[in-house]
Symmetry: C2
Subunit: 384 residues, 2 copies
């Protein structure tokens, strides 16, 4: 990456609308210097370039780049050692909602090298989140953080905010990718978070410094969140949520697409449930499950939740039948137990001895009764 090309890319970020995949593909094909030259030749050029050329003509790119440097932003471009390789996958896939392509560069505020995101996971979701969703997002983020996995999100209200916060309870980096310039504070209420990320981690944007958070730029931004990470977890999302666009990008990019279920009665879970039902999104309920899915096969072993293993779990069916027929209150003789159990008398006698060895039944006079250890309510062991 020579300085001329690097400079061309910086200028191009000022002129090319983020996610304008046709222009971004042109830059990939012809190189940034040639495209910039063509833009500077003005509006008469390639029709694709007209808007960008007009935008470029209307601004003083030298001053813009100086301002950016003064406000502490740096640009990271393809070929830089910290360039996140995952972004190049955007060149291989179809646009979604007419957005796509490898960004010409990323504006970064903060000390974190972007290649630190190679093992990261995105957690995104509804802005109109519930306390349930925020709690789960925060816990998953913290679990990922404790496992050394950086968390990427969008710094929005709700799930994004809870995810950043959860990660911040650990020592792992957490990165916000914005739809506006990386120097801007959007939403304004998250000033403290964004300042903190800009000082200790990183705030990233494809938009140039000062750019406004236009609606369309959220769609462009979402593809970066998916491409920068190994997988995207959607925690809460209504049917039209932008988080589903991020999930869609994760699927398109062969990242791991994950969704956290919730009560079917909450509108904030409808979009997530729909995606899981459609089949391309895995249901996850914890950070451990996320780690299992995004890690190399076998490198993270999940312990499936189980109930405690009980003595009766190790019994054969016929032994359980006999045990079930042994009374709790008054002792019964083996013949009576055999009748109730529907098991032959000879076998019942043998089994009763084994159950006594296991501490499940006690002899009492000529009969047998359950020990305290054997008294488990039927509900626990075999019922529905």
């Amino acid at each position: 990456m020579n300085d001329q090309e690097r400079h061309a890319r910086a200028v191009l970020t000022l002129a090319i609308e983020p996610g304008d995949w046709r222009l971004l593909a042109l830059v990939r094909r012809r190189g940034p210097t040639e495209v910039l030259d063509e833009l500077r030749r003005g509006a008469s050029a390639h029709p694709l370039l007209q808007s960008a050329a007009e935008r470029l003509a209307a601004l003083d790119s030298g001053k813009e780049l100086e301002d950016a440097a003064r406000s502490g932003l740096r640009i990271v471009v393809p070929g830089d050692s910290e360039w996140p390789a995952g972004l190049d996958d955007l060149d291989e896939v179809e646009p979604i909602a007419d957005r796509g392509g490898v960004p010409v560069g990323l504006w970064v505020k903060g000390p974190l090298r972007l290649d630190a995101l190679a093992s990261s996971v995105a957690i995104v979701g509804s802005r109109a989140s519930t306390s349930y969703g925020e709690m789960v997002a925060g816990e998953i983020a913290a679990e990922l953080g404790h496992a050394g996995v950086p968390v990427v999100s969008g710094a929005a209200f709700g799930i994004d905010y809870a995810s950043h916060r959860g990660a911040l309870t650990t020592s792992v980096p957490t990165v916000a990718v914005l739809a506006c310039g990386a120097d801007r504070v959007y939403p304004g209420a998250h000033r403290q978070l964004l300042v903190h990320l800009g000082e200790h981690h990183a705030v990233v944007s494809e938009s140039p410094p000062g750019a406004a958070p236009h609606r369309i730029r959220f769609l462009s931004r979402n593809r970066l969140i998916a491409a920068l990470t190994k997988g995207t977890v959607v925690v809460e999302a209504a049917v039209r949520s932008g988080a589903l666009n991020t999930l869609n990008w994760a699927q398109q990019l062969n990242r791991v697409a994950m969704g956290v279920p919730g009560p079917v009665t909450l509108p904030t879970s409808v979009g997530v449930h729909q995606q899981i039902r459609l089949g391309a999104t895995s249901l996850v309920t914890s950070g451990a499950e996320v780690l299992e899915l995004v890690s190399e096969a076998g490198s993270y072993l999940l312990t499936e939740p189980r109930g405690p293993v009980q003595v009766r779990d190790r019994l054969r069916i016929v032994e359980r039948q006999v045990l079930d027929a042994v009374p709790v209150a008054r002792a019964a003789e083996a013949t009576s137990i055999a009748r109730v159990a529907g098991v032959g008398l000879r076998e019942v006698r043998l089994i009763l001895e084994r159950l006594a060895d296991a501490g499940l039944v006690d002899r009492e006079g000529a009969g047998w009764r359950l020990t305290d250890a054997a008294r488990v309510p039927p509900a626990r062991a075999a019922g529905s």
Copy 2:
């Protein structure tokens, strides 16, 4: 089905433990009359038969069957016109937890013909259910009922009870399959429900009249619930829940296995989420989704939930870019809009005219501003 064979099957239900798949397979292979003869020859016969032979020898089968008839129970056996064909599938699959096989017959209390269950769905779940789970189970049951789909469950506390009750708010049959005799009331607190089902619908059991609800019989019972229905919906289930055994049978029998998600923070949803994650269980959130899965392809068309289609959804990306650049408060001129939008001036002028036709922008003096109709908070349309 001649009378002798029918009688043999009735007697066999008294002697063979429900779900004893080795004996049930023997009956399928050799026929009920021959197996009964062998049982009557006594304990010296086939070692497999010993327990059943002893049990048979200990009771007066004639009297038992008379008692059964007196208490209003009838037996339904393979070959009867109302025999539910789905049960025969149990002959084709491996046992689970050492239970399996086609029952020799089913004891039924109630007027409903069992072949009415051909289109039925099972709803089962935790006894230690939450009000969330009970509400969802009841709603799904009622939705199925309104669509004419009978509901099968186990009359247990919690989800089973809520499912029967939900179905009873409609005119569809609902059937309880019990682990004890169909004449018994278990659990005792559900006397009213069971009496009602026995009078108007059906209570079904593989166990003979009077049989106790031994733990092991729940496992045998669960296979019948799965086999009698087109699919099983688990609403809430902890990790060790018996409802997962029913789900397991549904999978084994190529029925539709379905699970309703819930808050990941509730232990009652852990078992369900685990099953969905493992992949053989479909996530469902409503009766409509259940109907779609259990119906012949295309016969039930699900309307996917969507947000309202808005005018801006139909705009091209470049049109949205322009729209986003039109101010709300004070009107702006086209040149200013073009600069903000990053779109060429000539195109902006054309687009503004089209947006005005669509009622999204208004001319004001030399400039343009948004109409009320166009003011949608950014959160709704494109954000995360």
